[in-house]
Symmetry: C2
Subunit: 190 residues, 2 copies
């Protein structure tokens, strides 16, 4: 998606050749106009798949997921990273190892909101090692729901997550796929 | 706001007479159509205040904030609860004590995205003891920005946050104000 790639080139910052900071428009400050373009693109890609639920993970996936859900006219569920007082009863749970935070945590979704009859589109801002996405796929599988696919804003294609999950037969559509990043701050797209 | 009050009555669940679970439409599963009505109401209330930034806090405020920002045609910033590898450099920070989680944590916003010339509308899903909102106000003050006010979906008016912050001269608009909740699950609005 050209507009997203241009924005990454203009405002993304490469740190240490492997970390891409896009917090001026994607995951700290959020440019909702850009999210609308992203949502339009996901609607074009998955609009015929009878999606009934958008699934994402807190926190930075929520914004894009909500604008996407607006297009699909369906609810969003966000997987939570810890069990709080406000979630109780039966949940689907799985463990995720965070690349960004360097720790393992549980993600959970209430069984009440993810049903066998659901057709789920997973939405997230980033795909790198695939840990979060893999966890979300596990939750969909545990619910016996149908996974339509995953819509990702930015995929670091030089990390193994995308290849690993596509090899499992999962349809992944990434709007900007980064082939490489240089220590000089350069970014090359696939 | 009638539609929100009706939804709380229909789908909200009162636990132990003090906890209100609205996770079927507000803060786990999210009803984007309802968020659009909420956003329209905040636009009616704050639409003449030249808002330049919507500020919220992860995670459950992000969804509503994004739909509100769509109306105001301005970016969202969400305060983060922990310092991650992906935020570095100068941040505004303050401590918040969570009622839900029973712990104290730091919230931070990058100085890059909150400027003295900004006119900030804070958006959040809940106001109870006012800890999170008070923290967000501190961040706005630290930036020297103008606080337009706070738009809250649900205020537990029987807890002290709203009164405390209004006494400081902060304009708070809550779309559903709960006067009391009974151990029998009943909900009375102001």
């Amino acid at each position: 998606m050209t507009r997203l790639e241009e924005r990454i080139r203009r405002d993304g910052k490469v740190k240490d050749g492997s970390i891409l900071k896009v917090d001026s428009f994607l995951n700290h400050q959020m440019d909702i106009g850009l999210f609308e373009d992203i949502a339009d693109e996901f609607l074009r890609l998955f609009g015929d798949d009878n999606v009934t639920k958008i699934l994402t993970i807190e926190a930075s996936g929520i914004g894009i997921a909500c604008i996407v859900a607006q297009r699909f006219k369906c609810p969003v569920i966000f997987a939570k990273k810890t069990k709080t007082k406000n979630i109780e009863g039966e949940v689907y749970a799985t463990k995720v190892e965070s690349f960004t935070h360097g720790q393992i945590y549980d993600i959970i979704v209430s069984k009440e909101f993810l049903k066998a009859e659901d057709r789920v589109l997973i939405i997230d801002d980033f795909l790198a090692n695939g840990a979060a996405l893999s966890g979300l796929v596990s939750l969909v599988t545990a619910a016996g729901a149908t996974l339509v696919g995953a819509g990702i804003a930015i995929e670091k294609a030089f990390q193994p997550g995308g290849e690993m999950l596509r090899a499992q037969g999962i349809r992944i559509e990434s709007l900007a796929r980064i082939k490489s990043m240089g220590k000089d701050g350069s970014i090359e797209f696939c």
